[in-house]
């Protein structure tokens, strides 16, 4: 088991060290903030735009991160020879594929946890603003702090990562990701506290945030399938061919990826049951296992 833990840890560290993941998560946060700000100030739209932007950004950017991080890492391992080194030890091909996938997917989730907190902050701000405006007829109280908190979740980690890299020789992308997680979580908690102290109708806000969580969890299984597919393809094909195959596969999966139905459900005040998210995760397991087995078979046949 220690062998596979080592492989998973190295894969996670490799994924987190790659600035691509940070770039994509920062882009996702920026899209959520900008789309929501533009929409609310331009059209006075309610929190629905923030919710849709959060769901779409997480799905699109996280899928891109999972696919491209998988491909870059595997091709990098093949070209640099570290794959040879790992497989010259007593690890099975399937175990190697599974451990590497687990590490990569865990790193993707860690990279995108700040995006979730940022999205929740923006939703809270937009919704609390709407409620506050409806209650008092005043301008929204929480919207401004929510945008400030989300912007801080983008800028502070980048500056902190750069400072850690400059003064402590720490890895820029890893430090920035960890810092983004801390700043976005603290910002969200502070915003909740601020909204509560502003005597805004909290139960409604809480239920809206809680309704988002299973919807977000529902986005993870297709991303996991895509990551496993990208890994399997890249054991056999080059970067461009693997990316193209993933694109084709993604188009075939599009009906399953659409979060339109989720948004509709949430917009009508309904919630996605956790059991449904669990069912989706269970349904994705055979696909992930099939791609891991395909990756192992391609590795087995590969002369290194």
């Amino acid at each position: 088991m220690r062998r596979y833990r080592s492989i998973a840890r190295a894969a996670a560290l490799e994924t987190l060290s790659d600035p691509l993941g940070l770039l994509l998560s920062v882009s996702a946060m920026a899209v959520i903030v900008l789309a929501s700000v533009f929409h609310i100030h331009q059209f006075g739209e309610s929190w629905r735009m923030a919710r849709d932007a959060t769901l779409s950004s997480i799905l699109v950017f996280m899928a891109l991160d999972a696919v491209f991080s998988s491909i870059r890492a595997v091709r990098g391992e093949i070209e640099s020879g570290t794959l040879q080194m790992a497989l010259s030890h007593s690890v099975s091909r399937f175990g190697y594929c599974a451990a590497r996938f687990a590490g990569l997917f865990a790193a993707c989730i860690l990279s995108f946890a700040p995006v979730v907190f940022t999205g929740l902050s923006i939703i809270l701000g937009a919704q609390a603003g709407g409620i506050a405006a409806a209650q008092s007829g005043d301008i929204p109280l929480v919207w401004g702090p929510a945008v400030a908190a989300a912007s801080a979740s983008i800028t502070i980690p980048l500056l902190a990562g750069a400072a850690m890299n400059r003064f402590a020789n720490a890895r820029f992308a890893v430090s920035a990701t960890v810092c983004a997680l801390a700043v976005s979580a603290v910002s969200y908690a502070a915003l909740l506290f601020y909204a509560r102290s502003s005597q805004i109708a909290m139960p409604e806000i809480h239920s809206a945030a809680l309704r988002m969580l299973p919807a977000i969890a529902l986005l993870l299984p297709p991303v996991a399938v895509l990551a496993a597919a990208a890994q399997a393809f890249s054991f056999r094909f080059g970067e461009n061919a693997s990316a193209t195959l993933c694109g084709v596969f993604c188009i075939a999966m599009l009906p399953a990826l659409g979060n339109h139905y989720l948004s509709e459900t949430l917009a009508e005040g309904g919630s996605v049951p956790w059991g449904y998210a669990g069912l989706a995760a269970a349904a994705s397991v055979p696909f992930v296992l099939a791609f891991l087995a395909a990756g192992a078979a391609l590795l087995e046949a590969k002369d290194m």
Binding site: L13, E14, L87, S88
Partner: protein, 251 residues
């Protein structure tokens, strides 16, 4: 006779995407290595040394013949448990530090945390890398990277150490360090298989050698039986150096 490694009539042909043969890399090579021996796999560039080594490690599947490492096929996970590998180029994750690299390989060798920490400290001291242990290996010089690769190969205390061109590209001091290390490990009972095209290095450390040429075994024997000059013996078996027609070209 106890053999650590037995290679019997192995063949390997590399093929392109459409499975058409491109290179006949190894054509029916056989040899065996006794436990505790330093065995040299010699030959000019392109003679099939690296392919043979990769087949011994289970990284390349032979088209025919058989290989046994401590009685098991190298494609099995169990056989690779007792094998350490030093590749020709120092393959490492550039984002990991030397300590993290060794910790990674200690994990792959299934060492528990306490043993791993102790061995990593010993290996860092042995290779003189304590001061640079927490710097990413991507910024290391070739010699330093080679020392990390050597430490990585040894972290699991393998019974069989396979070294592909261990002194290739190293300066004389580093080359001498590697040769001393090979002799020390051999004296401690480790079986070592090394490939090289540097005959002086092989002559200094090997007990037995096989000379490969164009994928075939050209000669095999103990170094002591090959006369005073391994180079003369090698050229006699492999053929004289190519005579480039430089004068004609320049004219």
């Amino acid at each position: 006779m106890e053999y650590a490694l037995a290679v019997d009539n192995v063949r390997k042909t590399y093929r392109d995407f459409w499975m058409r043969p491109t290179v006949h890399a190894v054509k029916g090579v056989s040899f065996s290595v006794r436990a505790g021996e330093v065995f040299g796999l010699l030959g000019p560039n392109g003679s099939g040394k690296s392919t043979t080594i990769k087949m011994i490690l289970g990284l390349v599947r032979p088209d025919g013949g058989s290989i046994s490492v401590f009685g098991r096929s190298p494609r099995t996970v169990e056989a690779r448990r007792s094998v350490g590998y030093l590749p020709e180029l120092s393959y490492m994750h550039p984002f990991l530090t030397a300590r993290e690299t060794l910790s990674y390989y200690a994990g792959l060798c299934d060492l528990d945390r306490k043993t791993a920490r102790m061995r990593i400290a010993q290996l860092l001291e042995m290779t003189g890398l304590q001061d640079a242990a927490d710097r990413p290996v991507g910024g290391y010089s070739k010699g330093m990277a080679r020392r990390v690769a050597m430490a990585s190969a040894l972290v699991g205390k393998p019974g069989l150490l396979v070294m592909d061109e261990p002194t290739s590209g190293l300066d004389p001091v580093s080359t001498s360090e590697v040769k001393t290390l090979v002799k020390t490990l051999s004296a401690a009972g480790m079986t070592i298989v090394m490939s090289s095209h540097l005959l002086a290095d092989a002559q200094d450390v090997c007990d037995t050698v096989v000379i490969l040429n164009r994928g075939e075994k050209a000669a095999e024997g103990r170094i002591a039986d090959m006369g005073s000059s391994l180079e003369e013996y090698f050229l006699a078996k492999v053929g004289d150096a190519r005579n480039f027609k430089v004068a004609e070209f320049l004219a």
